[in-house]
């Protein structure tokens, strides 16, 4: 199993170092236009936050997997975990916001020792859509997690899970040996409980990230290919496929630099820039809460340690009126969310 950048003492474990590289440091000839310049051309700078619709909470970076592309640099050696006190602050905010979606992520969010308590408490408050981003294998990795599918069903959780490909080779190559088989087992169990089945209220969506230095193809055609292959080979059903572009940060940035793919990848992102996506990128209607309660415009900014442009920096000080209409913090990685049909935690944006 590979180790996290942090465990390897890689300089790319530092968000500031990543931002420096993203500021064209490594380009051999010329410079790419800055994202700020690019969105200014279409009169969309500064990018401003709209009404809060999604509260995305990262409850910790600990994970049972070490995926090659992970933008969180998550893994078993990451100990950053949200405390119950911070969770209580998040719940307090959830009671008083316009957010209709609660989106729990990690690492493997289920590995936070207070995860189940948090889900139970958040369920009492009630949101239209309660998402848990599960890596699937956690449900089969240890007996103490075997009942997670039933727990999810009990609370009407919307399960969103990564699945890089419908074949074992491509999936295991990105996410680790054995991941594909365990994921298939978990998907079967979820299907048996009604997840992902036609006319069932239990939603099961899959997330596709390209397994390398290339952009995703059309989301609908990928979804059709995934559905057809998973049904034919394993009898598995799911609702939607979200195609997400790999953003050039953290472990994926490390991979791009190490394999001499960085420049070409950045060029391909800039070439695919689509101004029509800018007004719908996830940061405009999402607030991302870090494991320590710090506030960010998105999960990617969280990993780059790019906080919100606001005097409110922590969930304990949350004031919607002050955070609304704030200027979104941007850098070159934002090209990733505006390439082609656009990319967000919910898939394409245009």
């Amino acid at each position: 199993m590979i180790k996290s950048l942090k465990r390897r003492n890689s300089e790319l474990a530092d968000g500031q170092k990543q931002l420096k590289i993203l500021s064209n440091e490594l380009f051999s000839e010329g410079h790419l236009p800055t994202f700020k310049q690019k969105i200014s051309e279409s009169g969309q700078f500064p990018l401003r936050a709209k009404n809060l619709e999604i509260l995305q909470i990262n409850v910790g970076y600990m994970c049972n997997q070490v995926c090659k592309h992970c933008h969180v640099d998550a893994g078993p050696d990451r100990k950053e975990i949200m405390t119950r006190e911070t969770m209580e602050q998040c719940l307090e905010v959830l009671k008083n916001t316009t957010a209709h979606t609660l989106d729990l992520t990690g690492g493997a969010p289920e590995m936070n020792p207070n995860f189940r308590w948090f889900v139970e408490e958040a369920s009492k408050i009630g949101v239209k859509d309660f998402i848990v981003r599960s890596n699937l294998t956690i449900m089969r990795s240890n007996k103490k997690y075997y009942d997670l599918p039933e727990f999810f069903k009990k609370h009407g959780i919307h399960v969103v899970s990564s699945m890089p490909h419908w074949t074992q080779g491509k999936t295991d190559s990105q996410r680790g040996n054995g991941v594909f088989q365990q994921s298939i087992e978990a998907l079967r169990i979820l299907n048996e409980l009604g997840y992902g089945m036609e006319n069932s209220p239990l939603k099961l969506d899959l997330v596709y990230n390209p397994s390398g230095a290339f952009l995703p193809a059309d989301q609908k055609s990928l979804e059709a290919d995934f559905k057809s292959a998973l049904r034919k080979d394993f009898g598995i059903e799911f609702n939607e496929l979200f195609a997400i572009t790999n953003l050039p940060i953290s472990r994926f940035l490390d991979y791009l630099v190490a394999t001499d793919n960085y420049e070409d990848y950045m060029y391909s992102l800039v070439e695919a820039f689509n101004p029509a996506t800018v007004s719908n990128v996830m940061c405009t209607n999402t607030l991302s809460v870090g494991w320590d309660g710090s506030l960010y415009d998105c999960d990617f900014n969280q990993m780059l340690d790019l906080p919100v442009n606001s005097k409110i920096k922590h969930i304990s000080d949350y004031q919607e009126a002050i955070l609304q209409n704030r200027e979104i913090a941007i850098s070159q990685h934002c090209y990733g969310c505006t390439a082609g049909a656009g990319s967000s935690c919910q898939g394409i944006v245009s």
Partner: protein
């Protein structure tokens, strides 16, 4: 002066051929883009055909382009190699089938 005939960076400049003849260039790219849209054949199938043809005509730009395109579409390396063997079989077969002409000629000339 560059000492090789092919420069990978030239692939990104493909669209520039329209600059010296906009009308014909645009007609070509309109046609090209239409060809690769979903039709009776899926865009995925067309991508594999393009990859196989690229190897047959030995176009390094096309090989780069359609290897990348295949990856974005989730095409596996096993599928790509199978497509190449189809191209190889046709290409090899095209040489061998001319052997019939050779055999006819030999049979006609030899006592």
């Amino acid at each position: 002066m560059q000492k090789t005939y092919y420069d990978p960076a030239d692939l990104k400049k493909f669209g520039k051929i329209s600059e010296w003849n906009e009308e014909l260039g645009n007609k070509f790219f309109d046609y090209y883009n239409s060809v690769f849209e979903e039709g009776e054949l899926s865009a995925r199938e067309k991508s594999l055909i393009a990859l196989a043809v690229a190897h047959t005509i030995q176009c390094p730009y096309c090989i780069d382009a359609y290897t990348g395109d295949g990856l974005t579409r989730g095409i596996t390396k096993v599928e790509m190699m199978e497509a190449l063997h189809v191209a190889g079989a046709i290409r090899g077969g095209a040489s061998l089938v001319h052997g019939v002409q050779m055999m006819n000629k030999v049979n006609k000339l030899e006592m």
